[in-house]
């Protein structure tokens, strides 16, 4: 492998900077996720040219300008299928898909459920701030019932969407929750997610001081606890589902809720046994045997 002239050896967090400074509000939880992601890439020793980051649309999507890698900034809610397409084209790349709660749990919910089922080997990080922020403050699927916003002046009516329980039900093989205010812990979760063989999902509790100030860093810190410190074993789908039912207004568990290993979408296509599709030589294709049924 030729040496990448621009990189330090070993990799440093700065290797992933683009020179474009984030446009997020001061105090935004996205800064924590940004730092955790770069730290995780350093820990994984993944140079920028081997990483594909796919973004949706929202404040999380604006992230696309701030990390050096092969970046694809897609459409609102549609980042997961793009990520799966990259993976099917070149299974040797590490793919991380990044979106928000409006992006992934409203517009893109079907893709979320179906991508979980496929168990394609990529990592999905959701900036879950329980509000639409880039469109300046409307209720999202994870906004608590009664949440007052520009579009819900009398309070949100719908039952809040539970992404972790959803992921358990849909057959998720790696389901975790992190916190934007605990960068080392979140970085470790991302590392574990990328190393997991299969679809890894990390829902990240993210404070939005501008449009959801009530759910501040302090609000979260009063409720969070770590699954690993209380002897929780993430090997039981029923227990994971039960754990996911804890109302976040009371207790917020961080860590891996559930993990299992099972065949990935790439296994189904026998991709790991061959050269990536994108590197296949196109000079030696012979279609003549395919004519037989039509003779």
């Amino acid at each position: 492998m030729p040496y990448h002239p621009e990189l330090t050896n070993p990799l440093k967090v700065e290797d992933f900077n683009t020179g474009v400074f984030p446009t997020w509000c001061p105090g935004c939880g996205d800064f924590g996720i940004w730092a955790a992601l770069k730290n995780a890439l350093v820990k994984l020793n993944l140079p920028p040219h081997k990483v594909v980051l796919v973004f949706g649309i929202g404040c999380s999507g604006n992230f696309n300008n701030f990390v050096k890698a092969y970046v694809f900034h897609g459409l609102h809610g549609r980042a997961l299928p793009v990520g799966a397409g990259v993976k099917l084209a070149n299974h040797e790349l590490d793919v991380i898909v990044i979106g928000g709660d409006g992006d992934g749990y409203a517009e893109g919910l079907n893709h979320f459920i179906q991508t979980i089922r496929s168990n394609v080997n990529l990592t999905y990080i959701v900036h879950d701030n329980h509000v639409y922020s880039l469109t300046t403050g409307q209720a999202s699927p994870t906004s608590p019932t009664g949440f007052k916003s520009k579009t819900t002046p009398t309070g949100a009516f719908e039952y809040p969407f539970n992404p972790l329980a959803m992921a358990v039900s849909a057959g998720g093989s790696f389901i975790a929750r992190g916190f934007a205010g605990d960068i080392p812990h979140l970085a470790d979760l991302i590392v574990a997610g990328v190393r997991h063989k299969g679809f890894s999902f990390i829902d990240v509790m993210q404070p939005c001081p501008t449009f959801n100030p009530e759910l501040s860093y302090d609000w979260y810190r009063k409720r969070i606890y770590k699954l690993e410190t209380e002897g929780y074993a993430p090997d039981n789908r029923f227990k994971a589902w039960e754990k996911a039912q804890e109302p976040i207004s009371e207790k917020i568990a961080l860590g891996v809720f559930y993990q299992e290993e099972r065949p990935t979408l790439e296994d189904y296509y026998s991709l790991p046994q061959r050269k990536p599709q994108a590197q296949r030589s196109l000079d030696k294709i012979d279609i003549n045997p395919l004519f037989e049924p039509y003779k």
Binding site: H4, N64, A69, H73, L75, N110, L282
Partner: protein, 576 residues
């Protein structure tokens, strides 16, 4: 028969779910192997059991399209006879089971064959009546039954001896019954042709073969008539040819998956119909602004909404031309026949990669599902051109890489993930040369112009339309896509009349300077389209600045029959 018989049209009809399509395709293959040109056409409702299905094949020395009237009708039920009586020629024959069908017309040559009884005698299921009928068809047309028996043996090769045996006995039973009971030859008789090196296949199968030959590595589609048979073909043939074929949750996902694949460096394709493409519209713009190559197969059927799900129309041209918000380049290729489906699908991948834009293969149910004979495809004619791709070494020697570099041609090189130093942002936001979001007025204009310049460059490479018939004519027929077949068939029958035909495969970008000249110089234009509003006609008005004198439009879900075009042409030429 005094006049020379050029074509014979045979129609089989019966209840849906009783294997009409399989029977018809089997017969088509028998004729194909006998050296005949074959063109088939099927009509079926959007349901699985209980409706009415028909399968028609026209055979002849040279056939460009199926022809009406029907010369031989196989009526597996009374409805077939009642519904299609008016489609028959005066000298037509009908094959039927007297216990099921009463042919209440004295003019027809009647061939009663006890399908039910023969089927029982050979110990076959109800479905085997079709096989009896096929044997009878070959006997009526004066052919021998061996070709059919060979085909039965190979089709059922994996089945038990008893299944093969009873099918063979069924075919022979139908054949012998005619031979023993109807001694006077039928008006239409086939003759032995020299064997030819040709294939008998549908437009969709040709599209699939073209895609595989072009190195398609990822095919993604959600089932929808008339594109589902392409998905099934790709699953079957693609798995033997290293194509990853994925059926995702919806068409939104399908196009986004393909775009992800294209970004990562694979040749990617999706397939759908108009309804599914409606869901892809958003992602079409994504391919446009991120300059990601993708090939989109769209098999048209009559809309809007669910429309006529299993019928044919050319109603989506303007939709594809303008789909998605904003302005960006795209290309539309509308093959006119099965052969063009193969070669131009392969070409679509080259255009998509060279110009880094979405390229459509615009087909319709008539072409997608219609089988016909073609000369065996020549893979050597297919050249793979992948456009500008930056390598590790090129980037290292240039010292930097700009994914969306402003260039004269509008084309900037792509770098696939994994390439050292080629990291960039393929950004759905307007972006600068590196791909980072920008709202700068100057850069916005530059990037828009860059993208649109690619279409000008592509136009220089677009193949010209083909002119059929004499160079000068009183009337020039103009069409695009699958209307080519019936028009060519009509032209064949209008020899001596002052008519020629300009057929467009490359519909957008349009027009080349040469095309413009041809269209402006033609004495009189008649645009023939399977839609209600004359979509290509309006494109000529807009882009060529000429109002075509006549429009010949049909939008009842059926393709044009050659005789309808001949009638229209006669009227125009006689009323000049």
């Amino acid at each position: 028969m005094q006049t020379e018989i050029k074509t014979i049209t045979i129609k089989i009809g019966g209840e849906a779910g009783f294997g009409i399509k399989v029977a018809g395709a089997t017969l088509g293959k028998v004729f194909s192997r006998l050296g005949y040109d074959v063109f088939d056409y099927t009509e079926y409702p959007s349901l699985i059991r209980g409706g009415h299905n028909t399968f028609e094949i026209t055979i002849g020395e040279k056939v460009s399209h199926h022809v009406r009237p029907v010369n031989l009708l196989v009526a597996l039920n009374q409805q077939t006879f009642n519904d299609h009586l008016r489609e028959l020629s005066d000298d037509a024959g009908v094959i039927f089971d007297p216990v099921k069908v009463t042919p209440n017309s004295k003019n027809l040559r009647q061939f009663g064959v006890p399908f039910t009884q023969i089927t029982k005698e050979v110990g076959g299921s109800d479905l085997m009546k079709n096989t009896v009928a096929l044997g009878a068809v070959l006997a009526v047309l004066g052919g021998n039954v061996e070709g059919l028996l060979d085909l039965i043996r190979s089709t059922f090769a994996k089945k038990s001896e008893s299944i093969i045996g009873s099918n063979i006995n069924a075919a022979r039973g139908g054949y012998d019954f005619i031979k023993n009971n109807y001694k006077e030859p039928f008006a239409y008789q086939i003759s032995l042709k020299p064997a030819r090196d040709h294939l008998y296949l549908t437009g969709n199968e040709a599209v699939g073969l073209g895609a595989i030959a072009a190195g398609c590595g990822l095919y993604v589609a959600y089932p929808m008539t008339p594109s589902s048979s392409l998905l099934e073909f790709m699953v079957k043939a693609g798995s033997k040819s290293s194509v990853v074929v994925r059926q995702p949750e919806d068409e939104i996902s399908a196009l986004n998956l393909a775009i992800g694949g294209g970004f990562a460096g694979v040749r990617a394709m999706v397939g759908t119909s108009g309804g599914g493409f409606s869901l892809m519209v958003e992602a079409l713009g994504l391919a446009g602004i991120t300059e990601t190559p993708v090939v989109i197969f769209e098999g048209q059927r009559p809309g809007p909404a669910t429309g006529l799900p299993t019928w044919s129309e050319q109603g989506d041209l303007r939709f594809l031309l303008h789909a998605a918000q904003g302005e960006f380049p795209r290309m539309i290729i509308a093959p006119g026949d099965v052969e063009e489906c193969f070669y131009h699908t392969a070409e679509a991948f080259n255009f998509a990669e060279k110009y880094q834009m979405p390229v459509f293969i615009l087909s319709d149910k008539n072409l997608a599902e219609g089988g016909r004979t073609v000369s065996t495809f020549d893979q050597k004619k297919i050249k793979i051109e992948r456009g500008e791709i930056a390598t590790d070494e090129q980037i290292a020697s240039a010292g930097k890489y700009l994914r969306y570099k402003i260039t004269d041609s509008g084309i900037s090189s792509r770098a696939f993930p994994g390439t050292i130093g080629g990291e960039h942002d393929a950004n759905s936001d307007e972006h600068d040369e590196a791909g980072y979001s920008t709202e700068d007025a100057h850069m916005r204009t530059q990037q828009m112009d860059k993208r649109l310049r690619k279409l000008d460059a592509a136009l220089k490479e677009v193949p010209e339309p083909v002119l059929y018939g004499p160079a000068n004519a009183s009337l020039t027929l103009v069409s695009w896509g699958s209307t080519k077949g019936p028009i060519l068939q009509a032209i064949e029958e209008m020899k001596g009349m002052s008519v020629n035909f300009l057929h467009f495969i490359y519909v957008w970008p349009f027009p080349t300077p040469k095309t413009k000249e041809i269209l402006l110089k033609a004495k009189k234009l008649m645009v023939v389209e399977n839609n209600a509003t004359g979509q290509f006609d309006s494109l000529i008005k807009e882009k060529v600045g000429r109002v075509p004198e006549v429009r010949c439009l049909k939008y009842d879900g059926r393709p044009f029959w050659p005789h309808e075009i001949i009638k229209e042409v006669r009227q125009v030429l006689e009323n000049k």
